[in-house]
Amino acid sequence: MTVLDQAIGRPLAGPAASAVKQGRVVPGFRLSLGVTLVYAALVICLPLATLIFVGAGLGFADYWQVVTSPRALASYRVTLLSAALATAFNTVYGFMLAWVLVRYDFPGRRLLDAIVDLPFALPTAVAGIALTALFAKNGWFGAPLLAMGIKVAYTPIGIAVAMAFTSLPFIVRTLQPVLEELDSAVEEAARTLGAGAFTVFRRVVLPILVPALLAGVSLAFARSLGEFGAVIFIAGNQPYVSEITALVAFIKIEEYDYPAAAAIATVMLGTAFIMLVVTNALQAYARRHEGDRR
């Protein structure tokens, strides 16, 4: 996304700029824009607008009652806490992973880099049954963890595990390009001036990476809030305890309680919009930050 935004933000230069001023030389503007607008309107905007319309049609009292029902409130808590736990883990692990991929050379580095995309490529339902098999009470990880008294499957920790798996690439892929740009001469200068390794990391490296890290964190958190497929297998889906908001909306549909489903879905959509605005603001901040250093 960062790369994309950078590319878009770049103004046309040279002959292209003058061509635009003189009228378009490259053909196909009306056709391509027309196709894009029609498709975006019908496939993307129409359903979302309809959902907002249906949600708004409920009337405030009914809407409020649904979205603040005890079961819905419990699901927000479970979803937010699990997503926060997953994102906290991924912030540390994702940071280390990005650091190792950019800074160190070792056999298998390219393979490791490719493996980072596996959570994107693997269908969420497949991830769901795989993680459940691993963390079930007789699973590879579930059995030893249970021996230590930690129950993962069918608890909110299990939900966090599933969210962590599906959202990991966001943090790594957002940090990687910024780390690659980071000039190690700055660190060496700090070292020469007598700073210890930890001080250099904390006072020099980290401040530069923080904007990109925050952008990656908000992307990962947003993805975790909306995750469904990977979560429902491992969650146990017990109302009030291990039931995520997406599942509450799903169950309302299965119960043919469409107004309630619409209300919950608009809460999720609203949250997604907020996260989108936050992420974009952080990415803009990250880019400005990058600009300052050049």
Partner: protein, 282 residues
């Protein structure tokens, strides 16, 4: 890692630096083995431990065969449509400047931010029996929800940005110069696209198509709302995995899951190859 733990305390700063490096690489590799490799491993091992005959048997039950067929048909419809949409969107957004361009880009990328469950519910309110177009569809005896068209539409929404997202940065960086030269020399729109632009963007385009395809085959949340999960009829492969799993048919579920895992692994290999090609192009 044990080497790090037992490194002599007398080691100098340089020595410690090397060990710190090894320690971090070791931790990252261990975590990656736990977090990413193990889930893929458990699927392949569970599927493989049945033996090849039983594995094929699990896949060839009529319901699973129907689910594989439905997923393939969905991909065959959705991927070409979203490829054309992605090319059109990238052409408009990357090659031209117009008011509302950034807004259009945001809308094209919107499906990435929307939970698939929300997408499925939104589609239900458009095409479902009580939805916006419900009465019209009923009157004309058109069935969209709980049938192939609904699955196709929901998959189209979820994967709409995939091709465009690969092409827009690529085409923006390449600029319009080649196309302008071709146009000045008298080439028509179609000639410009097929002989000038397409060769420039082919690897990025192919990469977008591969990603789109993997996501269509694997989509779960949105499809689970709009398909109605009718056994042997509207169950896609991921929905069939869920059904088998909840029927305690673990062997069948893991066999089906391993098929999608192989698709994911092939996608990654293709990605590695294409990235090298895209890199050569610059």
């Amino acid at each position: 890692m044990s080497m790090v733990a037992h490194s002599p305390p007398s080691a100098g700063p340089a020595r410690r630096l090397v060990d710190g490096r090894r320690l971090i690489i070791g931790i990252v590799l261990l975590l990656t083995a736990i977090v990413i490799i193990a889930p893929v491993g458990v699927i392949l091992i569970q599927a493989g431990s049945q033996g090849f005959g039983a594995f094929l048997g699990s896949l060839s039950t009529s319901d699973t065969r129907a689910a594989i067929g439905l997923s393939l048909v969905t991909a065959l419809i959705v991927v070409p449509i979203n490829t054309l949409f992605g090319i059109a969107a990238a052409w408009a957004i990357a090659k031209f400047r117009f008011p509302g361009r950034k807004l259009l880009l945001a809308i094209v990328e919107l499906p990435f931010s929307v939970s698939p469950i929300v997408a499925g519910i939104a589609y239900l309110f458009v095409y479902g029996g009580q939805g916006l177009l419900g009465p019209f569809l009923d009157a004309h005896d058109l069935k969209i929800m709980f049938a192939l068209p609904g699955i196709v539409l929901a998959s189209m929404f979820v994967t709409a940005p995939f091709v465009a997202r690969e092409l827009i940065p690529l085409m923006t960086l390449q600029g319009n110069d080649d196309e302008e030269v071709a146009a000045t020399l008298g080439a028509h729109g179609r000639q410009i696209f097929f002989r000038v632009t397409l060769p420039n963007i082919r690897w990025g385009l192919l990469y977008g198509i591969v990603l789109c395809n993997a996501r269509v085959l694997g989509e779960f949340g949105a499809v689970s709302i709009v398909s109605g999960s009718i056994r042997g009829e509207t169950n896609t492969l991921p929905l069939q995995i869920e059904l088998l799993y909840h029927d305690y048919n673990t062997a069948g579920a893991f066999a089906a899951a391993s098929v999608l895992t192989l698709v994911a692994l092939v996608t990654l290999v293709v990605k590695l190859i294409l990235e090298a090609r895209i890199g050569e192009g610059h």
